[in-house]
Amino acid sequence: MGQIELQKVTKRFGETEVIPPLDLKIGEGEFVVFVGPSGCGKSTLLRLIAGLEDISSGKILIDGQDATNLGPAKRGLAMVFQSYALYPHMSVRKNIAFPLKMAGMDQAAIDAKVEGAAKVLNLASYLDRRPGQLSGGQRQRVAIGRAIVREPAAFLFDEPLSNLDAALRVNMRLEITELHQNLKTTMVYVTHDQVEAMTMADKIVVLQAGRIEQVGTPLELYRAPRNTFVAGFIGSPKMNLLTGAPAQAKGATTIGIRPEHLDVSKESGDWQGKVLVAEHLGSDTFLHVATDYGQMTVRVSGEMSVGHGDSIWMTPDQTHLHRFGADGLRIA
């Protein structure tokens, strides 16, 4: 249970095409992350799967069944919203029980399920509170609880962590990953944060302007970005993309090299530059360097002592050098 397949799905709002024809297969039990800059259509795509928006053409299959014309209530999917979308007039217990009540389950079974979910999510002592009395993280857990009691074919998450502060976000990230490992249910997760995508996903779908740029495991995307967009989007800090002489020397229009794949020396190397800013993070130091080919970022060990104005040499690790053609696509 939990296969989702999109066949030539498109979406237009009036004249504007938000999603051009798109094909995608999400396998059973997979944790799939849609990632892309804001406005890339990732949330729209999720809402199309949920049935909260109609597709303009194409087909959506859930577990092999055509779900294109089914309403959101009939698709057997559960969704966790960015704002959590808890029912403010109901207690936590009633919030979690709501989908079961809508399904017409009897009260005893509902109670048992709610208690179970509350235990898993550490909500047992909050069951009789209202959402307004809970912290952000607790609300998030209630939203998840409301989703899991339904035992849906798949979970849909729409930027669920973006309203939490940084520390809590890391915690919830772990909790959701753990939840996936326990439940083994398909999850589709939308985020603009590539760190979330890298850390949580089995499979990442990188989107830009409604188009799929690349689909792959986090490491595939890191090691072999299909084009310059994915290359620049995945990885932190960003991959350095150079054009001009250094690229031509490698027979490409653009070359890419990640900050962690550059060797730095104070005496000699391939490219020379001047340090603009050195960000000391302790274990690592990120250097922002001005070169003849534009600004570059380099990761060096925290031990190295460099500062503003220092002149350094950088040498790319040839095995990790990415080459892209005039069309922006990777040259194998």
Partner: protein, 276 residues
């Protein structure tokens, strides 16, 4: 304004505001006081303010002359019935406008409000004929429907403004949770909008209670509400101040009491949802 204010300033404010408040309230207070006077005391010169022979006689006379309870009952049925009927029709319409807006939503809303501008007197005679045809003349059902139609645009407008404050994601969550449209409105939207709905009901009950064109022109005896009850005092009974006051007090007391008890919701409602 998180600024401390001198006690002197506050005292002056208080005195001034109370004086203005009492001045505005005075006609009502005077009416209530006069209703307990004898007719002689009511027109005495200089006017007697508190020191007169308190009497309930006027109320007894008014009740005897015209059956107050029947008018009161008509007012309750007409004001309450038209408001509830309006709410039932307005909730789905306001849901549509607030959560599934289209390019025409605003135009439809404006058009609805513009029907309020249709001068009632312009269609008085046709309404007469329609009422005769339907056998609604001097019936409560007829007035319930007419007042519902008059207030429907305001009810829809107010509910629309309150519904728009509710995040659409919550309704979508209900849809994802398997709620049908009916459940979504009944179990999620309506309970969340209770304060707004209460304000809407209160304001429209008052508007319907005080409506004095159709209630005067489309009723005779059977369905006449309190507006008509009091209009019968225009003359010459109006010269009997104590009785006029007693009748007036009886006509406005229910709404005055209701208004004071539900002040918070009402104040919200009185702004017609147009100002936050």
């Amino acid at each position: 304004m998180a600024r401390s204010i001198t006690t002197k300033r506050k005292t002056i404010n208080t005195a001034f505001a109370w004086a203005v408040g009492l001045l505005i309230f005075f006609p009502i207070l005077w009416t209530i006081l006069t209703s307990f006077k004898t007719e002689a005391d009511a027109i005495a010169f200089p006017p007697k303010f508190l020191f007169f022979d308190w009497t309930l006689e006027n109320y007894a006379v008014v009740q005897e002359r015209s059956d107050y309870m029947r008018f009161l009952w008509n007012s309750i049925i007409i004001a309450g019935g038209s408001t509830l009927l309006g709410i039932i029709i307005a909730i789905p319409a306001a849901w549509s406008m607030a959560f599934v807006p289209s390019r025409r939503t605003k135009d439809i809303l404006m058009w609805m409000l513009s029907t309020k501008m249709l001068p009632a007197v312009g269609v008085l005679y046709p309404m007469y004929l329609i009422f005769i045809k339907l056998g609604w003349l001097d019936t409560r059902i007829g007035l319930v429907i007419v007042l519902m139609l008059i207030n429907l645009p305001i009810i829809i407008w107010m509910l629309y403004t309150y519904f728009k404050e509710i995040p659409g994601e919550i309704l979508e969550a209900a849809r994802m949770d398997g709620a049908s449209l009916k459940s979504e409105i009944l179990y999620v939207l309506t309970p969340m909008a209770v304060p707004g709905i209460a304000s809407t009901i209160l304001l429209n009950v008052i508007l319907a209670w005080n409506e004095a064109f159709w209630t005067l022109n489309l009723t005779a005896a059977n369905a006449a509400p309190l507006t008509a009850f009091i209009a019968s005092y225009s003359s010459p009974e109006g010269l009997f101040y104590a009785k006029l006051s007693a009748a007036s007090t009886m006509a406005i007391a229910p709404i005055l009491i209701m208004g004071w008890f539900s002040q918070k919701q009402l104040v919200r409602g009185l702004t017609f949802g147009a100002v936050k």
